[in-house]
């Protein structure tokens, strides 16, 4: 009897699906090529000693996804919908950042303004986009997915317009540190940035009412209001936090290239960010959330992508495999299927007892 309880408890745990996914991916990699897990020290183009290997790639490229997943989890929990404009707003924030650094010149010889000021502007832009989305959702009661459709359609165009459709290149090699490595430190800087964001959100959730209030609004807006929480403010706050996450992700994305490509930068990242939230077992209809599960989900998606690449899957065909994984995941986490499985386990266990 005790054994059965453990099984049921494990299956109903929110972290069950992400951890199973992690285990399956690890097994596939162990069978295919165990060297996947062995980080090596190499010397990169700039002459720095850096760690390299698939694991490092996952941590490196998973970081912007993890940062976005933080904001997306809050938005999902508070509004019961998702923001599909994050990719486009990354383009806007990144473009604004470049405009400030390069001062509107396509090929400047030195930085017109400091990177810090540029990042501050990007944060403002990100927050403004969040405010716009949040206002539409909270005040005008437009469904989140549709409200963010506006910026999704216009975002990349606005980004191109900010820099007059030119692609400025940042002259300062130090700008590349944010998305690459700082000389002397073998671990990619993005890992530290992601870690910083995770620590900040952990402290926020621990020492403020952010988590509790967000969940209250997501579960029942009316009763939250009757309990003295302002649902409009909470929803807008969630979108603004996502906007700040977008600004940080934009810093990483732009820094990786030291320039920007409006139509390609952060393409489809909104889908990955939403998947991260879903993979973490969070209800996409809002309410309760588990931040750690989302962040874990983000890294698992990057794990999946990297694994598929090492299995020689074409980058264009990647989407089809991801889709299959997603469908399997959502089918297993669907309440009807879960109930069915629970009944099946209950049916099977007395039979096992008799057999024993």
């Amino acid at each position: 009897m005790k054994k059965q309880n453990i099984i049921i408890r494990a299956v109903s745990n929110q972290l069950f699906i992400p951890i199973i996914a992690l285990v399956i991916l690890t097994i596939i990699n162990l069978i295919h090529d165990p060297s996947f897990f062995r980080p090596t020290l190499v010397v990169n183009n700039a002459g720095n000693v850096v760690l390299s290997g698939s694991l490092i790639t996952i941590l490196d490229f998973g970081s912007e996804l993890a940062i976005l997943a933080i904001g997306m989890t809050l938005v999902t929990a508070a509004s019961g919908g998702q923001d599909i404009s994050v990719g486009a707003t990354i383009a806007i924030a990144g473009s604004a950042m470049l405009r400030v650094i390069c001062g509107g010149v396509a090929r400047p010889s030195e930085n017109a303004h400091s990177v810090l000021l540029a990042f501050f502007v990007a944060c403002l832009v990100g927050a403004a986009c969040g405010l716009f989305n949040g206002t539409l959702v909270a005040v005008f009661k437009v469904q989140p997915m549709i409200a963010t459709l506006i910026l999704f359609t216009a975002g990349r165009s606005i980004a191109a317009w900010i820099n007059h459709n030119e692609l400025p290149i940042v002259p300062d090699p130090k700008f590349g540190y944010f998305g690459g490595v700082i000389p002397g430190i073998p671990i990619p800087t993005t890992v530290f940035i992601a870690l910083g964001c995770i620590i900040v959100i952990a402290l926020l959730l621990k020492f403020t009412n952010l988590g509790l209030y967000t969940q209250a609004v997501g579960i029942n807006e009316k009763s939250a209001r009757l309990n003295g929480i302002n649902p409009i403010a909470m929803k807008i706050l969630a979108f603004v936090i996502l906007g700040l996450c977008v600004a940080i992700a934009a810093l990483i994305k732009v820094s990786r290239l030291s320039t920007i490509n409006y139509s390609v930068i952060a393409k489809d990242i909104e889908m990955d960010a939403i998947l991260a939230v879903a993979l973490g077992g969070n209800a996409l209809s809002g309410g309760k959330f588990n931040m750690w599960a989302s962040i874990l989900g983000a890294y698992i998606i990057q794990y999946l992508t990297t694994t598929l690449y090492t299995l020689n899957v074409q980058s264009d065909a990647l989407a089809a495999y991801k889709a299959v994984v997603v469908i399997i995941l959502v089918v297993f986490s669907a309440p009807t299927v879960r109930d069915g499985c629970g009944k099946l386990i209950k049916k099977l266990s007395p039979a096992r007892k008799e057999a024993a």
Binding site: F140, A147, N165, L284, D316, A319, A320, V326, V330, V337
Partner: protein, 347 residues
């Protein structure tokens, strides 16, 4: 009750659907007439309108499907992917060394749509999975499969197909004179006829059949629809089935217009279709919408794009910004209208 007088009667007499529909039609007419008088040029010729139709017949068909899903309270963002997949599969089949026949290629298109509809409809209706996530995965799958079927874009050289593609149907009584004074009749492609037939058919289905009525009932209030004895799950299933089959047909019409297969075909078409439906007065919350509105939604969207590109503003970003601005405007109109209406009903 009667004290509020005039205002109340306007808002209560017109139901949601008709109110939003009339706004859309008025906006479209104003825009088109404005384009004729202010911009002149191509807009004075009837062919301009038909060119818009020719280029966007596929969008009309997919938008109609999407409207039905949205009326039922769901969403489907896989339609663009399905269109790309259908055109690629048909292109590969028609260009195969043994030569393909047109009827079989049409069956392929319908088959892909049907398969998509059954799987997505089952997942959404019977397993209660969020339609957004299901169709998101559907979109990924379709886009990925398109590149797996064939990576490089190519034109179809099949003669029967090219003949069908170039078939032009002249519109009687409309036409224009070229600079040399030669009369050129206005024409439409086959896709436009298909699109208009589908619009009419769906209009009848939504208005006068039991199935059509149950779409509105389920979208309006799932609980009360259930109490009325409507099979909610089957209705949802049917809405997704129709949407995907229409995406399949739309895919073939798109293919007929462009005559090639490419993985990048119909990029962002799902978003344009959603935008058209919203502009056409379909409410995202479900239960409100009209196929005629959707038709005008597509026309408004495409007219704006045509105006922007003929006004010489064809720096690529202007299209995106104007479409988004228009979408924003209509969402705000919808929101304000609904809030007003609720107030009018309360007092």
């Amino acid at each position: 009750m009667k004290k509020t007088g005039e205002k109340e009667s306007i808002f209560t007499r017109l139901n949601d659907t008709n109110l939003l529909l009339s706004i859309t039609i008025i906006v479209f007419l104003v825009m088109y007439l404005g384009a004729i008088f202010i911009q002149g040029g191509g807009f004075t010729k009837p062919q301009m309108l038909f060119n818009i139709l020719n280029a966007n017949a596929a969008l009309i068909i997919t938008s109609c499907g999407l409207s039905i899903v949205m009326i039922t309270g769901g969403i489907d963002i896989s339609v663009g992917g399905v269109v790309a997949l259908v055109s690629m599969c048909c292109a590969v089949y028609l260009d195969s060394p043994n030569g393909g026949s047109i009827p079989v290629s049409i069956l392929i298109a319908l088959g892909i749509g049907l398969a998509y509809g059954i799987v997505q409809g089952f997942l959404v209706a019977y397993l209660d999975i969020q339609p957004f996530i299901v169709s998101l995965a559907g979109m990924f799958f379709a886009r990925g499969m398109t590149t797996i079927v064939n990576t490089a874009p190519f034109n179809v050289a099949n003669q029967e197909f090219v003949a069908l593609k170039d078939t032009r149907i002249n519109v009687p009584g409309l036409g224009s004179y070229t600079r040399k004074g030669i009369y050129v009749p206005a024409y439409v492609e086959i896709g436009v006829i298909v699109a208009l037939v589908i619009v009419l058919l769906l209009f009848v289905v939504l208005r006068w059949t039991k199935l059509g009525r149950s779409f509105y009932a389920v979208g309006g209030n799932k609980q009360s629809a259930l109490m009325l004895g409507i099979n909610v799950k089957r209705t949802k299933f049917m809405s997704h089935l129709i949407c995907s089959v229409l995406a399949g047909i739309g895919g073939y019409v798109y293919f007929l217009h462009v005559g090639s297969g490419a993985a990048s075909h119909a990029m962002g078409m799902e978003m344009n279709a959603i935008a058209s439906s919203i502009i056409g007065g379909t409410m995202l919350t479900g239960g409100v919408g009209n196929i005629i509105g959707t038709l005008f939604g597509v026309l408004s969207l495409c007219t704006i794009q045509a105006i922007v590109s003929t006004a010489g503003l064809d720096d690529a970003w202007w299209t995106g910004i104007t479409v988004a601005a228009m979408l924003c405007l209509f969402l705000l109109i919808q929101s304000v209208v609904m809030i007003q209406k609720r107030k009018a009903l309360k007092s």
